[in-house]
């Protein structure tokens, strides 16, 4: 931070934004989302809708009969043209811009030296499945339920947030080999 203001042609790739500054910016993004669209950003809704859309294309009958998929397939704009899908597209673009500006674009598997990358990938996949399953159940993930919920004081958001972090602390011990 002391070097603030000094122009560096190649910024140190390790250096991240100050967390409080990032937090305030994040708050502004949330406020903007609520101000314009009346809703907060989310993430897990996009895979859900895309999956429903794919199921509707591959097995339309199955999607129609499922109470779960049909809700998304027959929503006003269909499963594809959804606010969350566009928002996630934006997240990918925004992440890429930020990575490009600070020189962090690199194809790699980030893992602890104690485990192989194959193992890391396996657990990442498992984590993805579990996370999305839980998010579908709780109707929101860390972004959609906890963060957006916090901004509008939703009880469900706070409960979900406590459950996520509580659950993570609860299980952290058993998976410590993956990380430390």
């Amino acid at each position: 931070m002391e070097r603030e203001g000094v122009k560096m042609p190649h910024p140190d790739p390790k250096k991240y934004m100050n967390p409080y500054l990032a937090g305030v910016f994040l708050g502004f993004v949330l406020i903007a989302a609520f101000y314009f669209s009346g809703r907060g950003p989310g993430a897990s809704g996009a895979p859900k809708r895309v999956t429903a859309g794919v199921v509707a294309v591959v097995a339309p009958k199955h999607a129609d009969h499922s109470a779960y998929y049909s809700k998304y397939v027959h929503s006003e704009n269909g499963p594809w043209k959804s606010w969350l899908n566009f928002e996630i597209l934006g997240v990918i673009i925004g992440g890429f811009i930020s990575g490009a500006l600070s020189g962090r674009l690199k194809i790699k598997v980030e893992h602890s030296p104690k485990i192989t990358s194959r193992k890391r990938l396996f657990w990442a996949l498992t984590g993805g499945i579990l996370f999305e399953y839980g998010a579908s159940m709780a109707r929101g993930c860390t972004s959609g339920a906890a963060l957006s919920g916090m901004a509008v004081w939703a009880t469900g958001g706070f409960v979900t947030m406590l459950a996520i972090f509580g659950g993570a602390y609860l299980f952290a011990y058993f998976f410590r080999k993956l990380w430390i």
């Binding site: 934004m17 937090g23 708050g27 996009a46 992440g95 984590g127 709780a138 947030m161």
Partner: protein, 196 residues
């Protein structure tokens, strides 16, 4: 005034462009704050890096205070905002499953998209997992349908649940966020950050 799209001040077609722009901002911040590295994210659960908690609480508190102020000043109508409905059982059990997914996968869905965009293969794998997870949930939905829809309370607010005023709750939220400025570095100093 706001929210602009639901009030019909901006036409609904703009909603998707707004979504894209909001997403870009969201992704930029997630990546820039270091959420694109699973190591930073899970650091929270092993006590060596609390960046998630800092960003998360600062963001949430800023947004809550900001929305309250904007409501007061007449820029936004809180009653018109979408509020996550509360389903007690599903929120708690779903949250615990997400916690398990967090420590095994090292990401949450939003951060995994941001991380995958800068070439993290583990994040990409996590993204693939989210699609499989959504499919799995869709297929098992009939079995757990009753549970998922139980304990419905509607869009209740936390300050009502706790029986305090909205302003006081927001103040406490800010207090927690500020308290974190001072408390968290103490823990971080005690725990060695694994380098890799």
């Amino acid at each position: 005034m706001g929210p602009l799209v639901p009030q019909g001040i901006i036409s609904p077609e703009w909603d998707f462009i707004i979504a894209l722009v909001i997403g870009i901002g969201f992704g930029f911040i997630l990546e820039g704050a270091g959420f694109s590295s699973s190591r930073n994210l899970v650091g929270l659960f092993y006590g060596y890096d609390f960046v998630v908690l800092r960003v998360f609480f600062t963001g949430g508190a800023t947004a809550a205070a900001g929305i309250l102020l904007m409501d007061y000043f007449g820029w936004i109508d809180i009653g018109q905002l979408y509020v996550q409905p509360t389903y007690w059982g599903a929120a708690i059990v779903g949250g615990l499953i997400m916690g398990l997914g967090f420590v095994t996968g090292g990401f949450c869905p939003g951060t995994s998209f941001a991380a995958a965009s800068i070439g993290k293969m583990d994040a990409l794998m996590f993204v693939v997992g989210t699609f499989l997870g959504a499919f799995l949930f869709g297929e098992t939905y009939p079995l757990i349908q009753n549970f998922v829809n139980s304990g419905y309370e509607g869009g209740i607010k936390i300050y009502d649940s706790l029986g305090m005023s909205r302003g006081l709750f927001t103040f406490l939220l800010i207090l927690v966020a500020v308290g974190m400025f001072y408390f968290v570095p103490v823990i971080e100093k005690k725990v060695r950050k694994p380098e890799y």
